[in-house]
């Protein structure tokens, strides 16, 4: 994944936050995905306006863990969300309109 040209965007699925966690539902499969606080924050940041680099930067600033660890975990998590078809990944260069 090119982290500067990949812009994750949440799909239009039912979800809500509870405390710092989030619950996301894949209506097609009927599965509910509970996300912990870090996952919930990444989910919230997948608004199509931030690339993966920027999402990693926000998470690194808010959670106490080494940046390389955060980057690896965040990229893997975003790829899993994409595999589950809960987000789409828009490919464009920074500054290009949506």
């Amino acid at each position: 994944m090119n982290s500067t040209e990949s812009f994750p965007l949440r799909k239009s699925v039912p979800w809500r936050t509870l405390d710092t966690e989030a619950l996301v539902v894949d209506v097609k499969s009927g599965l509910l995905y509970p996300l912990n606080s870090v996952g919930a924050r990444i989910w919230d940041l997948c608004d199509g306006g931030r690339n993966v680099d920027e999402i990693v930067g926000v998470i690194a600033a808010e959670f106490a863990a080494p940046e390389p660890t955060i980057r690896a975990d965040a990229v893997e998590f975003i790829e899993r969300l994409a595999d589950a078809k809960l987000i789409s990944i828009e490919r464009r260069r920074k500054g290009e309109g949506r």
């Binding site: 039912p14 809500r16 509870l18 989030a22 539902v25 209506v27 509910l32 509970p34």
Partner: protein, 151 residues
Amino acid sequence: MLLHASAVVTARRAWVFSGPSGSGKTTIASLAGARRVLNDETIALRPGIRGWEACATPFYGSGGPAMARVNDRAPIRGLCFLRKAEHFAHRRLSPSEVVARAFPEVMLPKRDRRVTGRLLESLAALAAAVPAWELAFRRDTGPWSYLDELD
């Protein structure tokens, strides 16, 4: 909403026991003794004037028609997600855990985006208002004195 659950009234309030098939819903209802069983398989949950209520339904489980003879309701004392075990044990569940546990146990005619979104909201309201636990229980002993200690 209709939840796969049994419910037993004790001290005028209902304990609601939910979980997938085989988790012990009927077993725990059969251990009710003289306490009133609202149902052993399907309970209607609704917000009432004095908080969430558990309501009897006619849809009984493996306990048979005797488990669905009551037409009554009661304020919910607590919601337990069951797990059979050798010893009693409990763990308080967070609101998100409650929603995640209850979500697959709710019966819906369809699960489109709108209905699922409303279900999430209802379960979040339930989780915020009703205390809930994961409850491991012995199948040969009623949990009532154990439950009295939960808060």
